[in-house]
């Protein structure tokens, strides 16, 4: 493992109190969501009562079998789609539509090719029209620096590597100063090395900005490495199968992936997902 890249150890939510004493940032209660599939002409139950809360300053990952509805849940928390039952609250406010308190980082970096890095980062601020242009640019520049892209502000996305583009994507989401960051497999398209590096970078950025995050991934090791808790979704219709507490030291360096406890957690979560995947398999053959 490349220790030089991640030599700086960073603490995970070190300044925060224990989870039990902390305030709740996001709370989903019995979230149910149906989706009408036009192709087969059927109403599918995607989420069958999700209960999940995220504490302030915490990073919670969601893993689960493919197509189980993880992304749908995250999109619902962002407010892009409405739920059919239950409620999602962020800072005790019920979510009905997207708002500046949440920001989404999509898997596909989706940077606008006609905007420079800086202009991409300030996009959300431009839409909100809440601050003067000079202040907007200043904030954009600070964010470009925060994600380690100083000197690239005037570059266009196509001039950047995949990892750099995903940094811009994160900076763009952070620009309106959201309280809750929603990340939908942001590193899935990156090569293994870049991905590990970006995981460490993300923790650093979250630490510095003191954000709460909900993170979706297919990679179990990524989920364990980043999170204080990992929520395992069942196969569709999704329920929470188990919420796994990651009782690893709060200082996360890449070396932690070699810890026996890390391996143990990885096995445990892998088994949970496999049970669910096997069920969908049987379900499909029936």
């Amino acid at each position: 493992m490349d220790q030089t890249q991640t030599g700086i150890a960073f603490e995970h939510n070190s300044a925060q109190q224990p989870a039990s004493a902390r305030s709740i940032k996001m709370a989903a209660r019995n979230v149910r969501l149906d989706y009408y599939n036009e192709r087969i002409g059927q109403l599918l139950n995607v989420l069958a009562g999700i209960d999940l809360s995220v504490h302030t300053g915490e990073l919670v990952s969601i893993v689960g079998p493919s197509g189980c509805g993880k992304s749908t849940f995250l999109t619902a928390v962002d407010g892009l789609i409405s739920i059919d039952d239950g409620e999602i609250r962020v800072d005790d406010q019920i979510i009905t539509k997207p708002g500046p308190d949440r920001a989404m980082v999509f898997q596909n970096d989706s940077l606008f090719p006609w905007r420079t890095v800086l202009q991409n980062v300030t996009y959300g601020l431009e839409l909100q029209q809440k601050m003067p242009r000079a202040q907007m640019l200043e904030r954009g520049r600070a964010l470009v620096e925060l994600v380690g892209l100083q000197g690239f502000g005037d570059h266009y996305p196509h001039e950047l590597s995949g990892g750099m583009r995903q940094r811009v994507n994160i900076a763009r989401a952070l620009a309106p100063d959201p309280q809750l960051l929603l990340l939908d497999e942001p590193f899935a398209a990156l090569d293994a090395q870049t991905r590990e590096f970006m995981q460490a970078e993300l923790l650093k950025i979250l630490e510095r900005t003191q954000k709460t995050a909900l993170f979706i991934t297919h990679q179990i090791d990524e989920a364990i490495f980043l999170s204080s808790r990992v929520a395992v979704f069942s196969a569709r219709p999704a329920r929470i199968k188990e919420i796994v507490s990651i009782d690893l030291p709060k200082q996360r360096t890449l070396a932690i992936k070699l810890d026996p406890r890390f391996r143990h957690l990885q096995d445990h979560i892998w088994r949970l997902i496999e049970e669910e995947s096997a069920q969908t398999g049987m379900h499909n053959h029936a």
Binding site: P98, P100, F112, H158
Partner: protein, 271 residues
Amino acid sequence: MHEDKPSQPAARRQISLWKRREDFFLGLIAIVLFLLFWETSVAQGWIKPLFVSSPSRIAKALAMMIADGSIWRDLRVSGLEFALGYGLAVIIGIPLGIMMGWYRRINAVLDPFVSALYATPRIALVPLIVIWFGIDLPSKVAIIFLSTVFPILVSTITGVRTIDRDFIKVARSFGANDRQLFLTLALPSSVPMLLTGLRLGLGHALIGIVVGEMLGANAGIGYMMSLAGATFQTDRVMVGLLIIAGSGMLLTQGLRLIERRFEMWRVDNRN
């Protein structure tokens, strides 16, 4: 991914001029050889100059037309027709295309007319245009306008319509309203298609000039060509042909350069 960057300048310097521009030089040589063969075959009497003229005769004809000033008048007339017809098509085609691309209802109302007219060979409308506008400038402008406006219109509609779904999700997630979605996404992402439409429109405009002027006119490049053709002045026909082909190539290449600049904006080119 766009990793396919041009090679480094340092590496490029070591490659000879010939290797770097091989395609260009091969094309150049082919043209020179062709002109030589053309000139020789006429000079040797293998083909009658009445049929194919010859490079030297064409040059002479051109020099004469420049000397007596007739060519400037024809160029001016055709240029004016082109500028008015093409300009009108741009001024009407782009805004209308944006409206039709963005508002479903406007599109539903106008689409049958656009589809029908787009499918009609514009040349079939010429008799009507002559009835409406006579044979002076307005009829030429109308023909060029009708030839040009549809490629521009249809490309613009397509451009506005094809917004990357992920872009829309990002914008909506940031709370964009419809107006913002239009200004920050639909407009910029329609630029590449729009430029393609402008380039396609150019070709149609040139056809429009020639067709319009051949059917009835008293000046212009197309008129000069049809008059010269009727009196068997092959050299002058060739001069007209060269001017049309040359200006077509120049304008198209110019727009291609602009298009290339915006190629990265193309939706399907991103990933």
